[in-house]
Amino acid sequence: MKPISRRSFLAGLTAGAMAAAIGPANTTEASVRTEKVATLIDLERCNGCVDREVPACVSACRDVNAGLFPKPDKSKIKDYWPQKTHEDWSNKTHLIDRLTPYNWIFVQKVTVSANGHDKDIYIPRRCMHCDNPPCSKLCPFGTNKRSPEGVVYIDPTFCFGGAKCRTVCPWSVPQRQAGVGIYTYLDPLPVGGGVMYKCNLCLNRIREGKVPACIDSCPQKAMAFGSREAIIQEAKRRAAQYNGHIYGLTEHGGTGTLYVSSVDFKKIDHAIVSQSSETKKAMRMHNPENKLNETSWLVKTALIAPVAGAVAAFAATISKKEEKDGR
């Protein structure tokens, strides 16, 4: 890869220049604040940090975001009446092999058959930061937000922890912690369930001109950050180089997290499903439809409905022969 000035990378000049710039993280330069950002995860480079106890990206994420992790009031952790369950991860903060309110990125390992022999693939998994995110757009409290940079994040202040965002997310990314958040003030009313937590792409760091901690920390330089256009160009360049494939370009209507691999993602997804002990909960690499996009025709109809009603009324009253009433 040709070296290029970091200013070009961050200021987002030409797509080609930016694509080439994707590489070492810059932590001091002015950030790309006004344009959409994206990340690229190169599965050809990620080795899962097998030589470390905790993958570097996971470790960095936990360190940087430790202050944002839930601090529940144990006395408020109760079953979600009338259900007999609740979600409490506060005793499982050590888990690093899945997403939890205390672990916003994990590395998924699958073995695929490629070129006649088995190949281990390590996949850093976190929020996909979708272009049209149902979790954010369908949040009933407006607390699951999307920044102008395209980062999907949850404002914990008014989150009730209803977990709808997790239900509508094809990857079930947001995770719930009970005993924390605004619903605890309504105790003992049986409403709410906690607060939802997930990757916020280190939005504060981005706005400070830094890159997300997971990307900054990767010893393999397997992750890259930049403007969406630059990342897409770079993903295509690498896919061509590997004679490989891109995940996230069109999946779910496009996502802000792109993956590139020499192995077809259908094959990877098949491996994820077949090798998962909990198939239903496996974080897949499938091609889910974005159901928000399916209803765009209804949205457009709704937007013109008031006009249609007004026009119909105008037509109904244009005739001089009026309906008799008892006014």
Partner: protein
């Protein structure tokens, strides 16, 4: 005078019921957009297992909203064009409303009413403001669901919660509207929303101002 008097023409009745039925569907699907039905076991009610599906609820909400908004704007333009303003509040309605409620509760004589009671005119204004607020916030919420549309998340936060708050007001007003029929004197008005007519003796005895007004207009 005929035995029955036309109170609500067919178009008005159809419009009213379109608003009412779509409004009820909006409440049902709106609450269904909250993560409630699974938690509170609505999904276990026979025939309602599908109610946990947020996307089905979204479809219902959109379709009901289309009918609701079209009917509301039909109502506004239709009556504006016909210059029919008998449901709009008048000066002194609040005072008269209190007087009427006192009379109903104590069994005392009610004053003669216009086509609508003072309470109905006040309730109409409350419904109107609430509904217009729901439509305005709802349209923003709908618009933001289009791919590629970006609205400031802080604005969306307020819009979303205002929509929810107005829904609560709407539900309260709906119950108040229905509770009016607990009062015996109001009951003849209920079938008139289906048949369109009320008995002339009822109209004469309770809505004297309305009858007088009609006589003046037909002279």
């Amino acid at each position: 005078m005929d035995d029955r008097i036309l109170r609500h023409p067919l178009r008005v009745r159809v419009n009213h019921w379109l608003i009412a039925l779509s409004g009820i569907m909006l409440i049902f699907s709106g609450f269904g957009e909250m993560p409630m039905y699974k938690r509170y076991n609505v999904v276990k009610i026979p025939g309602l297992a599908w109610s946990e599906d947020f996307h089905i609820m979204l479809y219902i909400h959109y379709i009901a909203a289309i009918v609701f908004m079209a009917a509301v704007f039909f109502h506004i333009v239709y009556h504006l064009r016909r210059r029919e303003f008998s449901l709009l509040p008048k000066r002194g309605d609040l005072k008269e409303g209190i007087h009427i409620i006192k009379a109903i509760l104590t069994g005392g004589p009610e004053p003669q009413h216009d086509k609508y009671l003072a309470e109905q005119r006040i309730a109409y204004a409350a419904f109107g403001v609430t509904i217009l607020g729901l439509i305005a916030t709802g349209l923003i919420k709908v618009y933001k669901n289009l791919s590629g549309v970006y609205i400031n998340p802080d604005i969306l936060f307020w819009v979303t919660n205002l929509h929810t708050l107005l829904t609560m007001v709407f539900v309260f007003l709906l119950f108040a509207h229905l509770a009016a029929f607990l009062i015996k004197a109001n009951r003849p008005l209920f079938p008139s929303m289906f048949t369109g007519t009320v008995r002339s003796d009822y109209a004469l005895s309770r809505h004297g101002k309305w009858i007088q007004d009609m006589k003046v207009k037909t002279q």
